[in-house]
Assembly symmetry: C2
DNA sequence: GCTAGTGATCTGTGATCACAGTTCGGGTGC
DNA sequence: GCACCCGAACTGTGATCACAGATCACTAGC
């Protein structure tokens, strides 16, 4: 009988869960841009299910503020104002910086190894002859979350995941349109600083590196002027 | 025609929104305790609607981690382990402390007046001859959120609201069972410290006061031993 | 007396239908 | 030629039905 105890709990995945992930991926990767509309029936048809699971997925995304239902009942990706985006960036700097500081102060050797691998993977892609921007976005995300996962606070990790979902459409839409920012590699410097701080166990330095990384990316996007003012 | 522009956008409230608020209130006030099960059909009947709106509300609460669907497909309030609760309290100390520090550093006079009023209201209730614990819980919440609302970052405010929803069942269930903690009034001291720090514009002191308030409440509950270990 | 099984009743999940309100294109009136 | 209007096709929201699986009280079997 003890052999049965070793069977893994097989995960129960509802169609709504799958639909949520599909839509979240569309948003996080910037393929759904701010202002784009989303139809329940069309999405359901594309996913090959009825509207019910899509409806549930969308209602979660609306609760997260990643989608919104307009006054006309149309579902769309919210159009962030410059002020909204700035507040989101400041919140991310504070929270993600805090998570990085905690990681620096209590990371295990295994954590450190995972972070080193992620940093190397991103660097390799960014410095390659022909970097794939979609792949670079993924690797950048992997590196950031390798750091956050090691902070030791699961609720904090979840909060950051939600913040990324919210910022995703704006950031990655911009990146798809202007991939040259990656090539200039000024994320690379901040990543190296963060890694060094985490290796040294220097919390404040790790927080500063992450905050700088986020601030610079946000300033770059805002200087582009693609965000409305009011 | 310009007079029409001053009409307030009347909010579109779906039944699902109403159901969400009703359930959230049940959870935040501790009337739904960890481990309690929730039936969609029974809830729908109690609210006088079909299962659809309840379903949507529950799916949002599940996404927030405030409810969970067990492996047997039963919906229930998650049973937090002592470790879970400690991690949640630590996250709250960090994030709510940060919000309080921002408030101290940039609060307007109007913010300060609102916080003073909320502090006085809570104090009056806690020091009254026969304090009403439900009312005290509400006033405590009002005071905390008066502080967080003045931090200037809307996303941070939303994050804290979600954290309170998650902690609500544990904290308020305990408070309903043992209201004497309120009477000892050691929240009062922390509140006074926070108010003084915000008046003085001292960010670190405000963060410390809030963190101490949260830590002491959490330690009190954990010392009670009502939480499972693993 | 206690266990194993069995059927009625509950559960959440998904599909389908109904409805009010919105959008949009194609005409008709001027 | 242009503004208006009307209707078809769409939108999200809510109710209802269908279904597989879980629960639980109860009984048959040893």
């Amino acid at each position: 009988m003890s052999a049965l105890a070793e069977l893994p709990q097989l995960e129960r995945r509802t169609l709504a869960d799958t639909a949520y992930e599909a839509l979240a991926d569309l948003l996080a990767s910037g393929r759904l841009a701010p202002g784009d509309r989303l139809s329940l029936r069309q999405s359901a048809a594309a996913l090959g299910v009825s509207v019910m699971p899509v409806r549930e997925a969308v209602s979660r995304l609306v609760a997260d503020g990643v989608l919104e239902v307009a006054a006309t009942r149309a579902i769309r990706v919210p159009i962030m104002t410059a002020q909204d985006f700035r507040a989101l960036a400041e919140t991310r700097m504070a929270i993600e910086g805090m998570a990085a500081a905690r990681t620096a102060e209590r990371r295990s050797e295994a954590d450190l190894a995972a972070i080193r691998r992620a940093e190397a993977a991103f660097r390799a892609e960014a410095e390659s002859a022909r970097p794939d921007s979609a792949q670079a976005v993924r690797l950048n995300r992997d590196l950031h979350f390798a750091i956050y996962a090691a902070c030791g606070l699961a609720p904090l990790h979840e909060i950051i995941a939600r913040l990324w979902l919210k910022a995703g459409p704006v950031i990655n839409l911009d990146l798809r349109a202007h991939p040259e920012r990656l090539l200039q590699g000024f994320a690379l410097r901040r990543h190296a600083e963060a890694l060094a701080a985490i290796e040294a166990g220097d919390g404040p330095a790790a927080a500063a590196a992450l905050a700088a990384d986020i601030r610079e990316a946000a300033e770059f996007i805002m200087s582009r002027g693609g965000l409305r003012d009011t």
